[in-house]
Amino acid sequence: MDKIPDNRAWWLVLPVFLLVAFSALIPLMTVVNYSVQDIFGPGQAYYVGTEWFKEVLADERLQDSLIRQFVFSGFVLLIQIPLGIGVALMMPKSGVKGSLCLILIAIPLLIPWNVVGTIWQIFARGDIGLFGWGINQLGIDYNYTGDTLDAWLTVLLMDVWHWTPLVALLCYSGLRAIPEAFYQAAEIDRASKWAVFRYIQLPRLKSVLIIAVLLRFMDSFMIYIEPFVLTGGGPGSSTTFLSQTLTTMAIGQFDLGRAAAFSLIYFLIVLLISWLFFTAITHADKEK
């Protein structure tokens, strides 16, 4: 077939272009716009180039919260992924018990994020919270509003409670998709429980685990409401994560230029790490 050169065909791309423009490009460009200018008021904007970026990268407060953020996300993945797999493995395969388990496990996922923060804020209090009171009764001195380690543990515990069910549900669906024949063959081949997990279940969970790891990384890296409600970022700034620092900067101090530059860096970090995870997992056992 002969190709007919007709540049009017470009018009056909217009709807998609508009859609992408409104959904992503224009909002993002606004941020880019702020990040390269210093704006004092309407009509009083000065182009400053990469100055904001340099300043933001050198800001110790931001560096600290970035480090905290990485530590937090690291722990979230280290705890929630294995725990989620474990829970999924232990859930009943079918029947009424299976359905009941699914419902019970899914409950934390249905609770609004700021409510989760509120629940734990009360639950973990030493005076009226069952959890905090119980720990104190065990003779362990626990106070999440005063002690850095306690605050961290509480934030982590809250996130584990809130989001491990997501990993568990994803893994459960992955496990159910493994045909019975594989288990039968493994039984015949006298595979141990560990071998069944390592060579049959885990490889077949790979695709859901990619999703779980990416979702959990992105969500935990952008966490805001729950620690904000629970600890308000304290004690001191020990549980102030990146998004809270950013919000303080943008809304509290109305420092739009720096906040915009910082937002872009934040966005690029999330993008980069997600890409790294994705490539690492998908290329993990490709044939050489």
Binding site: A181, F182, Q184, A185, D189, R190, Y199, L202, E287
Partner: protein, 366 residues
């Protein structure tokens, strides 16, 4: 290696079986002797895979016992029965290489690494996949995958038995024949009890010394291919074995033999004697298409019949004839010529006339 005995075995997939129809296997006694190569032959849904899974322990029988060398193993898992099984569709561990797949059962059995290497190489050579050993198993073609699947069954040396559940279904016909020969060779070489489930009589008879024919949850005959052919113990065996199957005709008692329509078939005197003692009215006569003779002239013991159809199958012909109301198939040499609707004369050699009462063969008592 072990002798596998099934004692009063019955299995139903329903928790509350109410009648014989609920049973996949009905009251069955059977022995698979040590070191034999057996086939379990039957149509789809007759219970053969169920029986295999009961032997391997993947299914718990609802009634009866499974004995390995006289010891009850009902409660033992497949792991503890030490049995190998190859499934109908390839099951491979797709994150592993072919080598790792074949080594997997040995590793699980804590076989020393040096021995694993030798053994995997040996099996790979037999199955002709030695050049694929370091490929990822998931990148193989369907028949290569099935070879790997079979290899995993064959690789262990100490198994009680190897069970094959229609293992060649996904393999193309030429390779099928080759692999069947391979299995037979492996059997001769290692002398392992093998049970091979199939619905293909040719597959069964090329692989096995003795064939168990299953029908409707029961083993209706257990014998050599020749026995199944010459003296089918049940009308189903007659019909199922041979191509085309046995001619089976419903008959009634007549003096000196049996008859259908206006045709009277004289029987051997012992058959007549037994028939006199039986009360059942469910009588059938079976004769193989190969054993009916066609002669051009009529004589005292011939019957006149009408040619309905002749099928030329290349090396022989199948002639469909009508005798009274009854259609019969006759197998003839390639040289046989007759025109449709012409009259021919049939004779039925007495030694090949099988009498069935209530579907089972009446045999001469010694």
């Amino acid at each position: 290696m072990a002798e596998i005995q099934l004692k009063a075995l019955a299995h139903s997939y329903s928790d509350t079986p109410s009648g014989p129809d609920d049973y996949a296997i009905r009251q069955l006694d059977h022995v698979w002797h040590k070191g034999g190569a057996y086939a379990l032959l039957g149509p789809s849904g007759c219970g053969k895979s169920t029986m295999l899974n009961i032997i391997s322990g993947l299914i718990q029988p609802s009634e009866g016992e499974v004995l390995f060398d006289g010891k009850r193993v009902n409660e033992l898992s497949p792991r503890d029965r030490n049995i190998a099984q190859v499934f109908q569709f390839p099951v491979i561990y797709d994150s592993m290489t072919v080598y790792e797949n074949l080594a997997f059962p040995l590793k699980n059995n804590k076989v020393p690494a040096s021995r694993i290497k030798v053994r995997v190489q040996e099996i790979a050579e037999v199955l002709e996949i030695e050049d694929k050993l370091h490929k990822k198993a998931r990148n193989l073609t369907a028949d290569e995958k099935q070879k790997v699947s079979m290899g995993r069954g064959l690789v262990r040396e100490d198994v009680s038995a190897i069970l094959f559940d229609e293992p060649l279904t996904v393999i193309d016909p030429q390779l099928k024949w080759k692999l069947r020969r391979k299995l037979k060779q492996i059997h001769e070489q290692f002398d392992i009890t093998m049970v091979y489930v199939t619905h293909d009589q040719l597959e069964a008879s090329t692989f096995a010394d003795r064939i168990a024919v299953m029908y409707d949850g029961q083993v209706v005959q257990f014998g050599t291919p020749t026995e199944l052919f010459e003296a089918p113990n049940h009308t189903f065996v007659g019909y199922f074995i041979g191509s085309p199957g046995m001619n089976i005709v419903e008959v009634e008692r007549c003096s000196g033999g049996v008859c259908f329509g206006s045709t009277v078939l004289p029987l051997e005197s012992w058959q007549v004697d037994i028939l006199k003692r039986m009360t059942s009215g469910n009588l059938k006569i079976g004769i193989r298409p190969e054993f009916i003779e066609i002669s051009p002239v009529s004589s005292d013991d011939t019957y006149e019949a009408n040619v309905l159809d002749i099928e030329d199958l290349g090396t022989y012909k199948i002639v469909t004839v009508q005798l009274g109301e009854q259609e019969l198939k006759v197998r003839q040499d390639e040289e046989f010529e007759a025109s449709i609707d012409s009259r021919i004369h049939l004779s039925f050699p007495k030694q090949w006339l099988m009498l069935y009462v209530d579907e089972f063969l009446v045999q001469e008592q010694q």
